[in-house]
């Protein structure tokens, strides 16, 4: 059953040095506030998992907290490169970044296998690609009925999955709607689940496209209005595309990045209200 508690306490309890952490959200509902709390608490040596490591992971990587990244597309959507990600991979700054790299279809199925508590998933993928030469989590299986060789991808079971949702009720049941990405799979695949929400409501009214995570699969709910900014929460906010564009020059420069993190994360209101 989920406890409703402060973000600071929830992160401190559920996210530990060395953990494998998935912060999911396909453009929508990305849990930025929780990531910033991880930065403030300096939780480090993380293996981060995410289909589309965008600015949220650029920040964690640039802050030096990340040992390894498991992903399928690393960019600032519609804008360009993730410069902190590139600097870590290309130059080892501020520390080297190990990669486990997949296609989207592979990553999505790795989460599906994780949620299904299967050791692997099968897809018709990676054919003719060099990707399998750089990862040990893609292999092959042969269909026992047709003899066709198919790709097998290893299950992903994060220690912690962190997501943002629109609403929870007082019992800790969570509902999200709009683009729901791979959040259900990422949550059900994980040992521990932390959900930040826009608000707590008396009753979760079923919504079109709504996904409910019952309280008994969630460990903690933290109320963090706008906790997805600069990503967004359908029904509460729109995507701050200006921020994504403004991020590019900040992230290009190590000093500018460090200053930004200091000012906007480490010294932010979130830090002060701990």
């Amino acid at each position: 059953m989920a406890d409703i508690r402060s973000l600071q306490d929830a992160v401190a309890d559920l996210v530990h040095d060395g953990d494998t952490v998935a912060m999911e959200g396909f453009t929508h509902l990305i849990p930025y506030a929780a990531a910033h709390e991880v930065i403030r608490q300096g939780i480090t040596d993380l293996t981060l998992v995410r289909m589309t490591p965008d600015v949220i992971y650029d920040q964690l990587i640039g802050a030096g907290l990340v040992r390894k990244l498991v992903f399928s597309w690393g960019g600032n959507p519609g804008v360009g490169s993730l410069h902190r990600f590139r600097d870590a991979v290309e130059n080892g700054w501020p520390r080297p970044l190990e990669l486990d790299e997949h296609s989207h279809a592979g990553m999505a199925n790795r989460y599906v296998a994780g949620a299904s508590k299967l050791p692997f998933a099968v897809l018709r993928g990676y054919r003719g690609s060099d990707i399998p030469t750089r990862t040990d989590t893609v292999s092959t299986v042969v269909c026992p009925f047709t003899g066709e060789e198919l790709a097998a991808v290893a299950a992903l079971n994060p220690d912690v999955t962190v997501i943002h949702a629109q609403q929870a009720d007082r019992a800790g049941n969570v509902q999200m709607w709009g683009l729901t990405g791979v959040q259900k799979e990422a949550a059900l695949a994980a040992d521990r689940v932390l959900v930040t929400v826009e608000e707590v409501v008396e009753e979760l009214r079923p919504r079109p496209g709504g996904i409910v995570l019952p309280t008994w699969v969630v460990d903690a709910v933290s109320v963090v209005p706008s906790g997805a900014h600069p990503s967004y929460a359908t029904g509460y906010s729109t995507r701050d595309n200006d921020f994504y564009q403004a991020w590019d020059p900040i992230a290009r420069d190590r000093e500018a990045f460090l200053t930004w993190i200091e000012e906007h994360v480490r010294d932010s209101e979130g830090a002060l209200t701990r």
């Binding site: 396909f26 597309w73 993928g125 054919r127 701050d240």
Partner: protein, 283 residues
């Protein structure tokens, strides 16, 4: 999926009222005239697919990997997960379902891809580039949906700007198989779709020769010479016996494209994009 800021480079076209990027975009949209369903990457593919809906194919069903099926955005989305894509969709499904039931399920006619590097067999690299022995590999965004889009869609269209940096003799990394090493390679690998059928650039169009699967120049933009395309291609480019000339954008196509772009960039609505600006080309 790589973000490709629209630019005005790559064309020395004379005085005319459209840019070479605009013609590339219009030409890419035209290639979707007969499609029912299109799996759309962000950037140029999204521009082309949305333009197709506004011009040659109003019924075109757009599928974005964020899980939206049948999106009808009224402006160009900046990202693959902009809210309008979901709000205007016929259905929003989980991401695993998009890839398993819809893409791998063989439901998509056309996949539309960009690329950082492409070779003569329309194989694609979006992972890493070799920057020489003294420098570390240059990091690109990675595969995204491309390997399975290229494998499973009925056919694949590519759209990217033409330069020797992009059109290379040898890929530094094969992220996504196009036609492999020649005809029959896709079949050997059990790939259901036909693979890349056109590479649409700001200079013209390359199409695979049915006999060799090698990309051949079949079409150039007005005012672009075959020699110029050769010079922008990193391998010895084969040229079709008859090279067509791309029809310039009609006033309607151009107006639709510019309206889409003007409405673009949600959050800064109405602000025109830096390039793709209406008016005469500046160089």
């Amino acid at each position: 999926m790589t973000a490709t800021p629209a630019g005005t480079t790559g064309s020395t076209a004379g005085t005319r009222d459209f840019t070479s990027d605009e013609l590339m975009e219009v030409n890419a949209a035209r290639a979707l005239a007969d499609a029912t369903t299109c799996f759309v990457g962000i950037g140029l593919p999204s521009t082309a697919a949305n333009l197709a809906r506004a011009t040659v194919n109003p019924g075109l069903v757009l599928i974005y990997e964020s899980g939206t099926i049948g999106s009808k955005p009224t402006r160009l989305p900046l990202s693959i997960g902009d809210g309008e894509l979901a709000e205007t969709a016929d259905a929003v499904v989980p991401v695993p379902e998009v890839f398993n039931y819809w893409l791998q399920g063989g439901r998509i006619d056309v996949g539309f891809l960009g690329a950082a590097q492409v070779d003569r067999y329309a194989n694609i690299n979006t992972t890493v580039v070799d920057r020489g022995p003294d420098r570390p590999e240059g990091r690109l965004p990675g595969a995204g949906g491309a390997p399975e889009i290229a494998s499973n869609c009925g056919k694949v269209l590519m759209v990217l700007r033409h330069s020797t940096r992009n059109f290379v003799e040898r890929l530094d990394f094969v992220t996504t198989l196009g036609h492999g090493g020649g005809p029959g390679d896709r079949k050997k690998l059990g790939m259901p779709g036909a693979g890349p059928t056109a590479v649409i650039t700001d200079l013209g169009v390359l199409r695979p020769d049915p006999a060799t699967a090698e990309l051949v120049l079949t079409e150039v933009h007005p005012d672009v010479t075959v020699e110029r395309v050769r010079a922008a291609t990193g391998w010895e480019l084969t040229v079709a016996d008859t090279v067509g000339t791309t029809e310039p954008p009609t006033p309607r196509e151009l107006a639709a494209l510019r309206a889409l772009k003007a409405a673009g960039k949600p959050g800064t609505s109405g602000k025109p994009e830096t390039s793709g600006k209406p008016g005469k080309e500046t160089r």
